[in-house]
């Protein structure tokens, strides 16, 4: 899935190379979620999901980038974010999506918890090439 960016809106690009970048990602996503008029609970869920994925990008992916912006599809508006790294990739995707599973280090709650916080979740990974995760939350 390519992210359903709104026409005429250029998504913002942020690096994820240091733990302070995770804070920047949260702030950017918060601003976008507010601009897209997500409800308070939906804002909280989406920022939290972005925080989890940004940390994954940093810790497991060895750093990468986040693109985030307003999204639009079939008359719905929302916010989208794409987390990309050129890390080791995920060898066993089914295992990685198992509830509560985490590959050690005690970080993250696995991807399944994060997936529950968003409306759309798309993961593309290849061993030795990297991982790209796209998430979208629609305004109700």
């Amino acid at each position: 899935m390519s992210a359903p960016w709104s026409a005429g809106e250029e998504p913002r690009l942020l690096p994820v190379a240091h733990s302070s970048d995770v804070v920047q990602v949260r702030q950017l996503i918060r601003t976008l979620a507010q601009e897209c008029r997500l409800s308070l609970v939906d804002q909280t869920k989406f920022i939290t999901a972005a925080s989890e994925l940004a940390r994954n990008t940093l810790v497991y992916g060895g750093g990468g980038t986040v693109r985030a912006g307003k999204a639009e599809k079939g008359g719905r508006r929302g916010v989208a974010a794409v987390f990309a790294d050129e890390g080791p990739g995920i060898p066993d995707l089914e295992l990685a999506m198992t509830d509560g599973w985490t590959s050690g280090g005690g970080l993250g709650l696995g991807l399944s918890g994060t997936r529950r916080l968003v409306d759309e979740f798309d993961l593309v990974t290849e061993v030795g090439v990297g991982t790209t995760i796209t998430i979208v939350k629609w305004a109700r």
Partner: protein, 124 residues
């Protein structure tokens, strides 16, 4: 240098009010600082005020659970106060319901909770 969260003391209770979005390293520092301060100041209770936090992700959630466990081993009780409703909903949906962490709605109720558990311990 990473920022550090100040730890205040009221009687034998340590109070931490998290006022800004924490970097992971700051979260880890707080964990260590609190463990040290519990022993150095013979604290019987710890209150962590998260009223200002708009989100609590799994990293911060785990920090809260770890502080609760560590303080228990050091003979102190931890109460997390001020969690926002949207944060509670998000944490549960994420799969982190913080079963071992005591909570109260605000600082006053948190202090009352610690007083009650101290009295119960004295009677026992």
């Amino acid at each position: 240098m990473t920022e550090r969260v100040p730890i205040l003391r009221i009687g034998d209770v340590l109070v931490v009010s998290i006022q800004f979005d924490l970097e992971d390293q700051t979260v880890l520092n707080l964990q260590e600082d609190l463990a040290e301060q519990i022993v150095a100041r013979s604290a019987r209770g710890v209150i962590i005020d998260i009223t200002a936090l708009e989100i609590v992700d799994s990293f911060v959630g785990r920090m809260l659970a770890t502080i609760a466990d560590v303080s228990r081993m050091l003979d102190a009780r931890t109460v997390v106060v001020g969690m926002r409703p949207a944060v509670a909903i998000t944490l549960v949906e994420l799969g982190l319901s913080l079963g071992g962490v005591d909570t109260a709605l605000d600082l006053e109720k948190g202090l009352a909770r610690l007083r009650r558990s101290a009295q119960a311990a004295d009677l026992a």
